[in-house]
Amino acid sequence: MGSTDDKVRASVSELPSFDFGATACTAAPRLDQARVAIVTTAGLRDDGVGTWTDGQGFRVFAASRRDLVLAHVSPNFDRAGFTADLNVVYPADRLDELATSGQIGSVASRHISFMGAQPDHTLTTLRLDTGPAAAKILLDDGVDVVLLTPV
């Protein structure tokens, strides 16, 4: 018998996903000159509300915020790790440390959260509307590298 996560992975591995065709690729700057943001699909909120109500939309919060709530709707992942240390999902302190040591150029002023496990696997809203809108917010902040984290 495999682990619980093995069972969950098996159950989600065959879910359909949108075929993007060709893989877009943007050249990354030197890391020590990059402005880095976190974009997570953990369904984080900064208003204390524990329910994700934004569908394929997103939340933007100041990079200094640490009082974030895990509003993801799925019961099928460990939640105690995030409760003990949000960096295990949302490594904001780690990025700050990398900026302080000069390994990255700077940390974005804002990070972003979407929520994964969307029932519409075509992700039309995310691809055509909210994803590009999030990209504009990041570009307006001078971000040129994003670290993407699931949950």
Binding site: A24, A27, V73, V146
Partner: protein, 236 residues
């Protein structure tokens, strides 16, 4: 994560993502992904271990110069969940025998929950509500477990999943204050579902809803995949 990588790269932002489900990452063909065979819910691997988290981030950032996309690399270490080794966490003794044991248990855990909340300065219980709110939710689940339809038990059926996550968050946050270490993945979850009255109540409530033919939307989130069914003789 993969879909966002495609969108952000197309907009002119270089990305690197962490993957926790390799089959999905392979199919999605995002530009640069680091697959980590870590517990679901812990993409950076180990809570309260900055050095380990930095190693994961460094391995991810090492992919940034790659232009031969899609790139799917593998982090060299594996971490498994420990759902079958529930957290050893002492539950405070019964305080008020006139209450349902699950409700008495909720109230007994109040100080531990409040300590955890003070330490983290946040809570994953919706709206930051405390023990009294959780006791009300557990009372609802007791009624459902005893056979009441959700609509007659004092809750909107569509909110059952969120309510279950609130009860679980309350217990897991209390558990972190009752132990001297961060539990391995799913140990707190298994403690809640296999060792507490409230966890047993959620398992029985899910079984009752399923037996009554309720929509999966009502009962799906009450108990995670992998936790034992309500009638498992190995679980209290």
């Amino acid at each position: 994560v993969s879909a966002l990588a495609h969108v952000l790269e197309a907009a002119g932002i270089a990305t690197v993502g962490v993957s926790l489900v390799r089959a999905q990452a392979e199919r999605a063909r995002a530009p640069r992904m680091l697959h980590c065979e870590f517990p679901l819910g812990r993409p950076l691997g180990r809570p309260d271990d900055p050095a380990f988290q930095h190693r994961v981030i460094a391995a991810a950032f090492d992919l940034l110069p790659r232009r031969d996309v899609p790139v799917l690399a593998e982090f060299p270490e594996r971490i498994d969940d420990e759902a079958d080794a529930p957290l050893a966490c002492t539950i405070p003794p019964r305080h008020d025998d006139s209450l349902h044991p699950a409700i008495d248990e909720v109230l007994a855990l109040r100080p531990a929950y409040e300590r955890s909340r003070a330490r983290t300065r946040t809570t994953n219980v919706d709206g930051g509500r405390g023990a009294d709110h959780i006791a009300e939710l557990v009372a609802v689940f007791v009624r459902i477990a005893d056979g009441a339809p959700a609509a007659d038990a004092g809750i909107e059926p569509r909110t059952l999943g969120r309510a279950a996550l609130d009860v679980r968050a309350y217990y897991e946050e209390a558990a972190l204050a009752l132990t001297d270490h961060v539990p391995a993945a799913r140990q707190a979850e298994s403690w809640f579902y296999r060792s507490t009255h409230a966890g047993a109540t959620l398992r029985r409530a899910q079984a009752a809803l399923r037996a009554a033919g309720a929509s999966p939307r009502e009962w799906f989130a009450l108990v995670p995949t992998g936790q034992p069914p309500a009638d498992d003789p190995q679980v209290s």
